[in-house]
């Protein structure tokens, strides 16, 4: 029987891993420089972390990988983490709550079932969470951090779409809906039903006007938001606070020269969002997103700690970065050849390969199957003098060398720059 890969799971080939590490490297580098610290949470969590209102939408919950593990006699189900923010909030409550501010980042997978098995069910995310601080400045920092990473990767055309969960919630409240109806519509919006709001029949003239205006927000800028605030806040005071927050954020983004689109109907995401929702798109495809979730930590039993965060979707970014930005600098690779039946030469071969690696070169011992293609140099190791023959495949020249330090010196003279892949 042929071996089979588990349905909906993907392998990452050497080529793909180069892209993966490049993205991860760019992301880690930025986060560390912005003062964020890396964490990792376990793959398994208890299911109940994700079940209460204000965590995952029921549609997402219906697609988690949950099961009874070896400890499951109490009926307590575990889950392959379907999301990274909730586990990080759990970690924060668990062991970091005493420190006021936590700036954390992660590179991690998340598992969500997808019916066809055509798309991957294991998704890699690079994310950052900012816990312990409220306000527009924190949200804008996260947007700018995400944008820095994208532009480092050469993804300059990503579109930033903004929405506001607090504004949607306030609007649903003004529409005179029951708590159950409000939750259902909010979930539908988050699950990607962009028409969910426009189907609502508002009770009253003011709410109807406000709703129409909100739906028309698409593509408009802060000026429109300010006009709207003026127009609505007198009759619908509940909208005032979220509108102010929204305006503060877009004002800051404008000051920072960051272009954006406002689109209330596009707000896909998580039930835990309470404020700004920001999403990055390349064409139709979402490549990352985040938002503010001030109620999540208290809901999970922690203190009243505000927080926001974002994640970039590694799997999707991998399709967007260009091969030249992922290919490594031209290799100064050296193939070290010895003869198996000449133990002294083998010993010397391992020893010089190790010195070459310390010197910054990629040195591979010939295992008997490699050709010289792809190698700049071959180094033949003999038992008798001259012990080394170094061949430069670029120039076609060969050099007889007696000692390993001479080999290094020669490589330096002939090769110039060293390989950077090590």
């Amino acid at each position: 029987m042929r071996v089979q890969r588990c349905k909906g799971m993907r392998d990452l080939s050497p080529e793909e891993m180069k892209k993966f590490r490049l993205i991860e490297g760019a992301f880690r580098d930025s986060c560390l420089k912005w003062g964020y610290e890396e964490v990792k949470t376990p793959t398994l969590e208890y299911l109940h972390l994700f079940t209460s209102t204000g965590t995952l939408t029921p549609a997402m919950l219906g697609r988690v990988y949950s099961f009874l593990d070896w400890d499951g006699w109490s009926g307590e189900r575990v889950v392959l983490r379907p999301d990274n923010t909730i586990p990080i909030a759990r970690l924060y409550i668990d062991s970091m709550e005493e420190q006021k501010l936590a700036k954390l980042f992660y590179v991690s997978n998340a598992f969500i079932f997808e019916e066809t098995g055509q798309k991957t069910r294991e998704n890699w995310q690079c994310g950052a969470e900012l816990m312990g601080v409220n306000g527009a400045l924190a949200d804008v920092e996260l947007v700018m951090l995400a944008q820095e990473v994208l532009s480092k990767l050469g993804i300059s055309k990503a579109e930033l779409k903004l929405s506001h969960a607090g504004l949607i919630r306030a609007m649903l409240l003004e529409l005179g809906l029951s708590p159950k109806e409000r939750d259902e519509i909010f979930d539908r919006i988050l699950d990607g039903d962009s028409k969910a709001l426009s189907r609502v029949k508002p009770k009253g003239k003011e709410p109807k006007m406000a709703l129409d205006s909100l739906l028309k927000l698409k593509g408009k800028s802060s000026g429109f938001l300010k006009n709207l605030r003026l127009q609505l806040s007198y009759n619908l005071p509940g909208l005032e606070k979220p509108l102010d927050d929204f305006i503060n954020i877009v004002n800051l983004l404008e000051v920072l020269g960051c272009s954006y689109q406002i689109d209330i109907t596009s707000s896909r995401g998580f039930e835990y969002y309470t404020g700004i929702i920001f999403q990055f798109f390349m064409g139709e495809e979402k490549i990352g997103g985040g938002g503010r979730y001030d109620l999540l930590i208290p809901l999970m039993g922690g203190k009243n700690i505000p927080a926001s965060g974002f994640a970039l979707y590694l799997d999707r970014l991998m399709n967007l970065i260009k091969p030249e930005s992922s290919s490594q600098a031209k290799g100064q690779k050296i193939l070290v050849r010895t003869k198996l039946d000449k133990p002294k030469a083998v010993k010397e071969g391992f020893s010089i390969a190790s010195r070459l690696r310390q010197g910054g070169y990629v040195a591979q011992i010939n295992l008997g199957v490699e050709g010289v293609a792809g190698f700049r140099w071959t180094l033949d190791v003999k038992e008798k003098a001259p012990q080394f023959i170094l061949t430069d495949h670029k120039s076609g020249r060969s050099f007889k060398v007696q000692a390993w330090d001479k080999v290094l010196a020669l490589l330096g003279e002939q090769g110039g720059d060293k390989d950077s892949t090590a």
Binding site: M1, P58, G62, S74
Partner: protein
């Protein structure tokens, strides 16, 4: 072209038999308490039919062992709610065997809506034969912390002491036993014709289905052909007082009732109304501070692990199945009751040239499809296949009458046997004996200290009785 159809045993058998009779299929041996599993039709020569436990039918159709099946929509939804990509098509509502799945609580618990229940703190325990539908209910209603207790049966006796909620089937308007109050309807169901997706898309069965559809117009559901969903229990029930030191004892239903009652009698523990002629699952004993429920032996280890019962009389087979699944469970065998002796065996078809498990391993390695291991003991079967390196295998859970699965619907069976006669009768043979099982008294390794005196009294009394036999 052969068409394979899975038919239900049990609750829907009488009404399904009447419909197929009306359709003129000419089936021999499809009647109540039939001992035949494989049927043919006098009218359609290409038809092969097999009789299954109703809840096995959707699984058999979904995996492609059968092209069509007839079963209640409740079991179809129980599969689909968890495995939505199952290759299953709902072809036709046959209308008969209607019922409703209700989420119920005990009237004595004082909750009448889900919202009231959610307002209570702590873990909400839901007991059901439909664990997937129960879980879906819990997430749909956003219950924060909940535990699902999957059951083999006797669900109605669990609330309020052993579960907060129970998901139970009942006919519309049927009375609820044990003063249960429905909080909400979860699903209304009736018998359905279902099809395997690829069979439905590729096989022409127009003439067979036509006879079925035609007869639906004239079909009258025979009254009292099958038993009601919830057997009525006459009279009210006095729950009595339950305190923190009340000891809960679980006694088995089914064929272990008589020997169990006899043993208890010998031990001087007289139980009133056990076995019960009226389906009473709460018999009483003249033991101060001890309360009794009669439940399925299969369900006992999990219930004891969770502290819903302190002591239970079940089989070692079910204890092992539980412990193989949950090695950290606190359930322990306290006493071997030395009755109800059976062997747990690995069984294959006599038509296969297999002498021992090594031959089976070789066969599994040569095949291009996974080995199918059928068993009521899912975890014992899984461990056996794992320990014996059966390579790529799939465990098919069954709900009884497992011997009928071989040879066409499974390759290996893990089953219990007393004499081995049933196995021989079905042209099967025993490949290996896994272990001996007898009835045993089980309890928790973490007993509640304030119950210790009463618990120890029962253990000691039974120990002396067993030793005297």
């Amino acid at each position: 072209m052969e068409i394979k159809i899975a038919l239900p045993k049990g609750r829907l058998l009488g009404k399904t038999a009447a419909l197929l009779d009306e359709a003129g299929w000419g089936l021999r041996g499809y009647y109540k308490d039939t001992r035949l599993y494989r049927l043919t039709s006098r009218r359609f020569s290409g038809l092969f039919l097999k009789v299954f436990q109703e809840k096995d039918v959707p699984i058999q159709v979904a995996v492609g062992n059968y092209d069509f099946g007839i079963c209640g929509l409740d079991w179809v939804e129980e599969l689909l709610v968890k495995y939505s990509s199952s290759a299953l098509v709902k072809v036709k509502n046959l209308g008969y065997g209607a019922g409703v799945l209700y989420m119920v609580a005990s009237r004595s618990a004082g909750v009448s809506t889900i919202e009231e229940l959610k307002a209570k703190s702590g873990i909400i325990r839901i007991a059901s034969e439909y664990p997937n539908l129960a879980e879906s209910f819990a997430s749909r209603y956003r219950l924060r912390q909940f535990s699902i207790f999957p059951l083999w049966g006797a669900t109605e006796v669990y609330p309020p002491e052993s579960a907060d909620l129970a998901l139970v089937p009942a006919g519309r308007g049927e009375n609820f036993n044990y003063a249960l109050a429905p909080l909400t309807e979860v699903l209304s169901f009736s018998a359905h014709l279902i099809a395997n997706k690829s069979s439905w898309e590729s096989k022409d069965v127009g003439d067979i289905l036509a006879t079925l559809y035609d007869s639906l117009d004239t079909y009258k559901e025979p009254a009292n052909a099958d038993k009601a969903l919830m057997t009525e229990m006459t009279g009210g029930y006095d729950y009595g007082e339950v305190t923190g030191d009340t000891v809960w004892l679980a006694l088995p239903d089914g064929h272990q009732q008589l020997p169990t009652a006899e043993l208890l009698k010998k031990a001087g523990i007289e139980i009133d109304d056990y076995p019960s002629a009226i389906g009473n699952r709460r018999p009483t004993a003249k033991l101060a501070g001890v309360k009794i429920k009669v439940i399925r032996p299969q369900d006992m280890p999990l219930q004891v692990a969770n502290g819903n019962f302190d002591l239970a009389i079940t089989g070692r087979d079910w204890l092992m199945d539980h412990l193989y699944q949950f090695p950290s469970s606190p359930v322990r065998e306290l006493l071997d009751l030395k009755m109800g002796r059976v062997k747990i065996v690995a069984v294959v078809s006599r038509d296969l040239p297999l002498g021992d498990i090594n031959d089976l391993r070789r066969l599994a390695a040569e095949r291009s499809v996974p080995l199918r291991v059928a068993s009521e003991y899912v975890n014992i079967a899984d461990k056996y296949a794992r320990d014996n390196h059966l390579g790529m295998y799939r465990v098919i859970p069954t709900w009884g009458a497992s011997e009928a699965f071989l040879p066409e619907d499974a390759d290996l069976l893990i089953e219990n046997t007393q004499t081995g006669r049933t196995i021989v009768k079905h042209n099967l043979k025993i490949l290996a004996t896994l272990f001996q099982s007898t009835a045993c008294l089980i309890g928790s390794s973490l007993p509640s200290p304030n119950k210790a005196k009463r618990v120890n009294f029962i253990i000691e009394t039974l120990r002396q009785t067993v030793e005297a036999i």
